[in-house]
């Protein structure tokens, strides 16, 4: 059986390294440094996210975020949007619905048409679980009301991130022991490629525009 063959070869190869029997405890693991400490992680996050082509706006409250989301949708002439059906985004969802934007939701669309429906959206609106200051990265978790495609298929992606969820760096994120979702996606700026003509272009496959609203209050 291939499994036995491959593992057998691995064990035979490592026998001189750690003996004939597999170790009970793995000794000598490299000790990792702790997370970095930044004096102003929110500003660093904003600077680093802007550096990769995202727009970042600081807002004082979720209601202000709702107002800005509506304005953003208006300037982009958004008519259909996928919005995560999570409690933290309720004010945003309500405001956009009030503005007459079609909400595409898995609850309302038959499953087999869901993906096609998302593909017609002008924007995807999600929250972010965390932000990473060092790189300007958004951390999105998948879930029943948190479809992955919302931040992937539509040409524009709007993200609401609480300022107190901004971590200094990746080690800070992975030091946590939260259970992992089926897909934890780290997003740093709009999708990009330089394969055609060596000219960097946004929106290779994913969104061309990423707008981040950081809620400080």
């Amino acid at each position: 059986m291939s499994r036995d063959q491959v593992l057998g070869r691995v064990r035979a190869a490592l026998q001189p390294v750690h003996g004939a029997t597999a170790p009970q405890s793995l000794g000598g693991w490299p000790s990792l440094p702790g997370p970095q400490v930044f004096t102003d992680p929110v500003s660093l996050f904003a600077e680093r996210a802007r550096a990769v082509g995202a727009t970042v706006d600081l807002v004082a409250s979720i209601d202000e975020a709702a107002r800005q989301s509506a304005a953003w949708c208006a300037t982009r002439a958004v008519r259909r949007a996928v919005v995560w059906n999570v409690a933290s985004l309720a004010p945003v969802r309500d405001r956009l619905m009030a503005d007459g934007i079609d909400m595409i939701s898995p609850l309302l669309v038959p499953t087999r048409n869901w993906v096609d429906a998302v593909a017609t959206a002008d924007a995807g609106i999600t929250s972010a679980e965390w932000g990473i200051a060092e790189t300007g990265t958004l951390v999105l978790a998948s879930g029943p009301d948190q479809p992955r495609l919302a931040s992937l298929l539509p040409p524009a992606h709007l993200v609401v991130l609480r300022a107190d969820r901004i971590l200094p760096d990746l080690p800070a994120l992975f030091a946590r022991s939260d259970p992992l979702p089926s897909a934890l996606t780290l997003i740093t700026g709009p999708s990009r490629s330089a394969d055609i003509g060596l000219v960097p272009v946004f929106g290779a496959h994913g969104p061309m525009a990423v707008a981040i609203l950081v809620v400080t209050g």
């Binding site: 790189t135 879930g143 992955r148 992992l180 979702p181 490629s193 003509g197 290779a204």
Partner: protein, 469 residues
Amino acid sequence: MNQPRPARINMVANTTLALQDADLQGALNHALVRFRRLRTDAAAEVPEWEALRDLAGEIKAHALAYLDVHLTQLESRIVALGGTVHWASDAVEARRIIADLVRTRGVRRVVKSKSMTTEEIHLNSALEAAGVAVVETDLGEYVLQLADEPPSHIIAPTIHKSVAAVSRLFSEKLGAPPLDDPEDLNRVARKALRTEFLAADMGITGVNFAIAETGTLVVVENEGNARLTTTRPRIHVAVMGIEKVLPRLADLGVLLRVLARSATGQRASVYVSMITGPRRPGESDGPEELHLVILDNGRTRLLADPDLRDSLRCIRCGACLNVCPVYERAGGHAYETVYSGPIGSVISPVLVGMPRASDLPFASTLCGACAEVCPVKIDLPRMLLELRARAVRAGFTGWVDRLFARGWTFAMSGPGRLRVVAGLGRLVQRLLVRRGRIERLPYPFAGWTAHRTAPPLAAHAFRDWWRSR
């Protein structure tokens, strides 16, 4: 099964051809000078960069030292999450596993994101033979697939195609109007590939890292096609070399910090997908089935070799290729192997065998630039030298080299012999020296004088000067 004797890769011939291609030279130089600067700037921004490299190297070394433990833990985690783990001894088996999945699951269309491992096992031709349409979704790979051309090199696979050429291609194959703006051309490709993504039954990717502790597969990219490949189709197949396992989630934090900076000078790649099992109940997207194919295909040979084991630390960032003065002039094709550049010159002789790849370790000046930038501190020059010694011991070396070695050892075996040989040299060189230099050395040393003059032996050796002091 009788296989024809593999043809030896002739690096001298291949690099000579590459040097004659002025367009290739210009394109390579332009791209690599840029990548080098980006990497240097990105590393300079991190004050603890050298310590980070040390740490990343230690993490990978430790992961390799207990690879069997980590692999079995990874497997049990993935199975507990509802995924399936397959083990492939070699490329033949890996292809069979995936072809079986295609057959039993009624797959007709496959989308792929770029993966060196799937190239290594020649997956595409096997799938096509099984009657399945396979679409490459990285923009560069897609262009080449449309044009039915191989990548001209790894970093920018379409570097040989001008914008005008791509426009003509898209008009011909996709019915697009003539366009001269790369942004517009990207839109065309994006739209065409969208249709493919939405129609595909199976998505195939590689794996950058696999976390044993949590059963998480990590896929790193900039375009978003890997995300689409792992989200939309109902089946996701991930193909992974055994060496990609990391023990703990915390280890990923360190490796990701060095990967993008080393590869392209970005602080982070645009997308890092951390996939922990297939879609969960209640979710509306994500694959229903997740399959991991764990591939050996010669890696255990490297693992068993104390002098070469560290080459398995490689995280496929490409920094060594970018900085190599030989790769800069030879380009990826000259190596005729899936893995080229310094790392390719080390692992290919073991993965594809010495009879085919014995020339590769010699195509280097051992300048050490590669080792200086490797984020996991692989001592590539040391390994290249080890491989040269093995090539010689196994008889894969030219008669000129053997002649030179014999002659040199004889001459240097003692001052008396050296005096005799050098004395003879001083006599012979009278035929060659003009105006204090040698313009043409005879075969087989003519290569020297093709590009530079040669110095003559001095009239009196240092040791003679010393004695007369």
